[in-house]
């Protein structure tokens, strides 16, 4: 005999439809805005501009991947789950360390490991606070954000520190198959992230830790290690992004911390593009490009950049309200 076990009530079907509608709506909004810019903003669709958007998105993308991993491993319920508010400030600190070391004449072989190690240290501090001390992540990472921002200022004395190295030249000006080095970084980085997060056992287990800690523990997964790992990764992502930041600006400049908002917006927005309404690498990538295109389009249309922060803030509110509405069962 066949077992009849499917949810048969109308509610669940309506509910699934609703989810689908929200997801399709997100894609439609994305496409709609792209088409709008393509039609109204002169030069939006030129290959130069599109590459420019992708290049701009690389740094944002690396940071957003970091925070996406934290969201995956700890759940997107910010108050109960996890978040890494320190990631942008951390990237600023790493960039400062990197630029200062280059300026003092140390080569990339020392400066790059130092920058990455700085990022990992900050990541470790976050993991220690959240997992070992069990401080609310949004409070502990807020405190760490201030420490990192303060250290950045202390290292740079709040000045622009110019930096140059062969690697930076390659990153800034190199091209391969007509695509710039920074764009390649985003492509390769995203591909690696997809492989790890969506195609490896580690990724699946990370999702299970973030989705239901008790369930993960009950099958013998050491949940704490995964959460630690996600904060460490977030620190690593900050370190990697810092090199790209220095490459793009040929310097370390104050104000990297301001990237926090678009990064958060991208990571939260990304969930709307996924079937399960969870953060995914693909969703985050799409969201990063969306946010990049948005500020680019604004620029081309001559809309004041003062709107950008407000639009991003509003975007976060809309996305969170919509996803919480979609998740409600």
């Amino acid at each position: 005999m066949k077992l009849q076990l499917f949810k048969s009530d109308m509610n669940s079907n309506g509910y699934t439809l609703q989810k689908m509608a929200i997801r399709l709506g997100a894609f439609a909004a994305f496409l709609g805005i792209m088409v709008f810019f393509a039609v109204t903003a002169r030069g939006f669709t030129t290959s130069y501009n599109i590459l420019n958007i992708i290049e701009q998105s690389t740094i944002l993308g690396f940071l957003a991947f970091g925070i996406t991993v934290v969201f995956i491993g700890t759940g997107t319920d910010v108050q109960k789950g996890g978040i890494d508010l320190s990631i942008a400030a951390n990237a600023g600190l790493c960039a400062a360390v990197y630029a200062v070391l280059l300026e003092r004449g140390y080569g990339d072989s020392l400066a790059i490991p130092a920058a990455i190690a700085t990022g990992l240290c900050v990541g470790f501090l976050n993991g220690f606070a959240v997992v070992t001390l069990r401080i609310m992540p949004l409070l502990s990472t807020l405190a760490v954000m201030n420490i990192a921002a303060g250290l950045e200022l202390a290292v740079t004395q709040n000045t622009v520190i110019g930096a140059a190295s062969p690697l930076l030249d390659t990153l800034a000006f190199g091209k391969f198959l007509g695509i710039s080095a920074l764009a390649w970084c985003l492509i390769i980085g995203a591909a690696l992230m997809v492989a790890i997060v969506h195609y490896s056992p580690v990724g699946l287990r990370l999702y299970s830790v973030g989705g239901n800690v008790e369930a993960a523990k009950s099958v013998g997964i050491y949940a704490g290690r995964y959460v630690y790992g996600s904060y460490l990764f977030s620190g690593f992502a900050a370190g990697a992004a810092s090199i790209l930041i220095v490459a793009r600006l040929s310097a370390s400049t104050p104000g990297t911390g301001l990237l926090l908002l678009p990064v958060l917006a991208a990571a939260l927005l990304g969930a709307v593009f996924s079937r399960r309404f969870v953060p995914t690498i693909g969703g985050t990538l799409l969201a990063v490009l969306f946010i990049g295109a948005l500020s680019n389009g604004f620029q081309l249309l001559g809309i004041s950049s003062y709107w950008v922060s407000g639009v991003q803030g509003a975007l976060i509110l809309v996305v969170v309200a919509v996803t919480s509405f979609a998740k409600k069962s």
Partner: protein, 327 residues
């Protein structure tokens, strides 16, 4: 009357140790600075410290205390401060009456709290993200209103009267801003520790489900919580702009971490690790003293920021870590 003493004693001692630790740290740091930092132990230094650093932060921290006691958080305190300050300066600049300007400024701040509570109650966004969104929208609003963040200075003597009425007056030798702080402390103390409101707030903070199942108007109480926080921030904003006779866009952001830090340092003095008015004031004094001491020791602003960040981190670690142990 059986209480299991065996299991309670070690917990009690750990807890009592941890909440005495804050006093010990406070006195320790005080003595340290008195000995090492030249000019620290000095009446002018203290009165200057209180007038310039303590009053403004303490009023904001009181607001944050209410929100955190209710189990929420308000990242948009800076917006409330700035918008109140902006409204106040613009009103004065336009030649309006000082009292009217103060009222408008505080109403503007209250609107920020109202927005927060609408997002939380109606759209079910959690306080952290709701106030984060408002924080960034507030930034845009200020940039748009000031063409990208150009400060408004009202240093001309024709505008001086209302500012002097706020900052230069005193009662029985006590300057008005300090009196405002005292009034705020008393008001928040009465509401939070002696009033019905405080009961609802602590129920919300301890277990919102229980509050709901006890017939408490949860959305209404949350609105009160967020609006009162914003109003306090608005008061602080008015005092700030009167002191500097100008409106500097985004100046309020600097208060956020200190207010959160002070509130959580304050929780460390209570056995149940609850936010309290007394604790918060102690936290504010601690932070101000630390910043002042570090400055007098010759540390620049950047290292002060690192120091404060580390201190808040350590206090949070103690507060959460020991609570975990006690449970």
């Amino acid at each position: 009357m059986t209480v299991n003493n065996k299991t309670l004693t070690p917990k009690m001692s750990l807890e009592s140790m941890s909440h005495k630790a804050v006093y010990v740290a406070f006195i320790g740091v005080f003595i340290l600075f008195s000995m090492t930092a030249e000019g620290f132990l000095n009446f002018d230094n203290f009165s200057n410290l209180i007038a310039n650093k303590v009053v403004l932060l303490a009023i904001v921290a009181l607001g944050m205390t209410i929100v955190i006691a209710a189990g929420g958080i308000d990242l948009s305190v800076g917006v409330s401060i700035d918008l109140a300050s902006m409204a106040f300066i613009m009103m004065i600049g336009a030649g309006h009456n000082g009292v009217f300007a103060v009222i408008v400024a505080i109403l503007v701040a209250a609107c920020v709290g109202l927005t927060n509570s609408l997002l939380i109650n109606k759209l079910k966004i959690d306080p952290f993200l709701a106030t984060l969104g408002v924080l960034f929208i507030g930034k845009s609003v200020q940039q748009l209103a000031t063409s990208g963040g150009v400060p408004i200075y009202l240093t001309k003597s024709e505008f001086a009267a209302p500012f002097e009425a706020i900052t230069r007056t005193s009662l029985f030798g006590i300057p008005t801003p300090f009196l405002v702080l005292v009034a705020c402390v008393i008001a928040v103390y009465l509401a939070l520790h002696r009033g019905k409101f405080g009961r609802y707030v602590s129920a919300l903070g301890a277990q919102p489900g229980v509050a709901k199942y006890s017939g408490i108007r949860v959305p209404f109480q949350l609105t009160l919580v967020f609006v009162s926080c914003s109003v306090l921030c608005g008061i602080s904003g008015v005092l700030l702009s009167s002191t500097v006779r100008s409106y500097v866009p985004l100046a309020g952001d600097a208060f956020l971490l200190d207010a959160i830090g002070a509130t959580f340092i304050g929780t460390a003095i209570s056995k149940e690790r609850k936010p309290s008015v007394f604790g918060t004031i102690l936290g504010v004094l601690f932070l101000a003293m630390l910043r002042n001491g570090l400055l007098l020791l010759g540390l620049n602003f950047f290292w002060q920021q690192v120091g404060i960040g580390l201190l808040v981190f350590i206090v949070l670690g103690l507060s959460f870590g020991l609570r975990k142990r006690a449970e």
